[in-house]
């Protein structure tokens, strides 16, 4: 069993790389300076103050911790709540907003671009510990590539962000130009919990309650990873990494087992899948550590994680400011020492080549 809980927290998190931190969503006034005149006028005439995902509603209170809802400068609050007390080395900002779900492909590009510029100016430039994921319009693939190329020179952008449930399975060929640009520039694809709600969120249609919405996410992640493998994205882009952000972690071994077993009898449909899906998942997929779905007994957590057969996959994350733990008790209990050591920093450096400079 792990002895990590007995060690001072700061010793473990000092210098760590937090792979999932959320700034508050930009408001209309925040984005206006970064929009060209046409879109600035359109924004003001439509007068939507904040673009919030129905599946990831920032302003719904249970999604934010009561003690992490401070007024004033959000960066100062983040520094005081998280970056300083944990002595983090770096933290990756993920803006999960309605920008991901806009139907208008040109508006989507404009909002992604403005959000990225706002991140660079108002966050990255004000604290050199911060890094960010690039928002790109998946409904406008040419625009997405254009946005990646525009920002590729800025090494503070370290990842491309999308959602667990989108318009099409993520491996589809229409998205490949995004993956090509991502691989070229050392940008992993971050798949964050959330849905564009282009389709019913579950495979049996619409559900009634919030708790069901969260369960459906697991299937969203599994569907995306199965699609990326089967469509041959990792055969085509062998250096590409995918990070499942806020996925819960423990659902992954059963996906490995199921898909690897079924691959034996069905791989003739996809002969470019030459390695077992479990091996491909170990090579290409990474998992942020919060939230962490696990048995209550910490000794069983070690068994659960051992099924991954890899110390490379887990990436430390706080998921600030969401409510998964009390105080700064940010590390899941029961993670074996060796795996935790790698998760805090080394695995992130191996996943995000741009973090290393």
């Amino acid at each position: 069993m792990s002895d990590t809980l007995d060690r001072p927290r700061a010793m473990i998190t000092a210098g760590a790389i937090d792979t999932d931190v959320h700034p508050p969503l930009p408001r209309q006034a925040d984005l206006l300076p970064y929009l060209d005149p046409y879109w600035a006028e359109t924004f003001q005439s439509r007068d939507v103050d904040v673009l919030e995902l129905m599946s990831f509603p920032e302003r719904t209170k249970p999604y934010r911790r009561a003690d992490w809802q401070g007024e004033g400068d959000a960066l100062v609050a983040m520094q005081k709540d998280l970056l300083d007390p944990l002595q983090l080395g770096q933290a990756i900002l993920n803006v999960v907003s309605g920008a991901h779900a806009l139907f208008d492909p040109y508006l989507q590009l404009a909002v992604c671009r403005a959000t990225n510029d706002w991140l660079a100016d108002q966050w990255l430039s004000r604290d050199d510990r911060l890094r960010a994921s690039i928002l790109v319009p998946f409904s406008n693939v040419a625009g997405a590539v254009q946005e990646i190329e525009r920002l590729a020179g800025d090494k503070r952008f370290v990842q491309i962000l999308t959602l667990a449930a989108g318009e099409l399975p993520l491996g589809r060929q229409s998205y490949w130009p995004i993956f090509e640009a991502a691989e070229k520039h050392g940008l992993p694809i971050g798949i964050h919990a959330g849905s564009m709600l282009r389709h019913a969120p579950s495979h049996s249609g619409y559900h009634s309650f919030l708790i069901e919405d969260h369960i459906a996410m697991t299937h969203g992640f599994a569907t995306q990873i199965a699609s990326l493998i089967a469509e041959g994205v990792f055969a085509k882009y062998p250096a590409l990494k995918v990070v499942a952000i806020e996925s819960g972690v423990s659902w992954v071994p059963p996906l490995m087992w199921r898909m690897s077993k079924d691959w034996r009898g069905t791989r003739v449909e996809v002969p470019w899948v030459k390695d077992s899906p479990a091996a491909l998942i170990r090579k290409h997929v990474r998992l942020t550590s919060q939230p962490f779905d696990a048995p209550e007994d910490p000794s069983e957590v070690e068994t659960m994680l051992s099924h991954l057969l890899s110390d490379d996959m887990l990436l430390f994350s706080s998921d600030y400011p969401h409510c998964h733990y009390e105080g700064l008790d940010v590390l899941p209990r029961g993670v074996p020492e060796a795996m935790l050591q790698k998760a805090m920093r080394a695995n992130a450096l191996a996943t995000y080549p741009r973090l290393g400079g």
């Binding site: 060929q173 469509e231 009898g265």
Partner: protein, 137 residues
């Protein structure tokens, strides 16, 4: 190692397979373009008879959307779950080192040489005009 005369060569037509019992073992013998290959007739997964599987080629492809058929007639797919085995070696495609069936030596001998040999010919009515299939366990 014991050798068993299991059938006449003409009992296994080109591109087909037959199941035989040699000693206490069930053996699947395949005729791949005139060459005979013998493997254990029991899928290591759930025990299905590989003899009843589809004889096929190795499906290969490097790029998404690329399909090639290689090594025509040298693979068999288990009739139950479609796992593929190499008829020449007994190894599965997906997990060749751990998931495999035993492969046996098989040869053809003219009947006239068997009449005086060490074989258990009493179970066959060996004729000097035919060729026979012999499996070594």
């Amino acid at each position: 190692m014991p050798e068993y005369v299991v059938c006449k060569l003409t009992d296994i037509p080109m591109g087909q397979s037959r199941r035989f019992t040699a000693g206490k073992r069930d053996i699947a013998i395949f005729n791949v373009q005139g060459d005979l290959h013998a493997i254990a007739d029991r899928c290591p997964h759930e025990g299905a008879s590989l003899c009843k599987g589809v004889i096929t080629s190795l499906v290969s492809g490097d790029e998404p959307g690329e399909y090639r058929l290689e090594r025509q007639g040298e693979m068999v797919r288990c009739p139950w779950h479609g796992w593929e085995f190499d008829i020449l070696t007994g190894k599965s495609y997906c997990d060749p080192n751990r998931m495999k069936v035993r492969s046996y030596d098989v040869k053809v001998a003219p009947g006239e040489t068997l009449a005086e040999g060490p074989y258990q010919i009493e179970i066959y009515d060996v004729s000097v005009q035919d060729d026979y299939v012999i499996v070594t366990l």
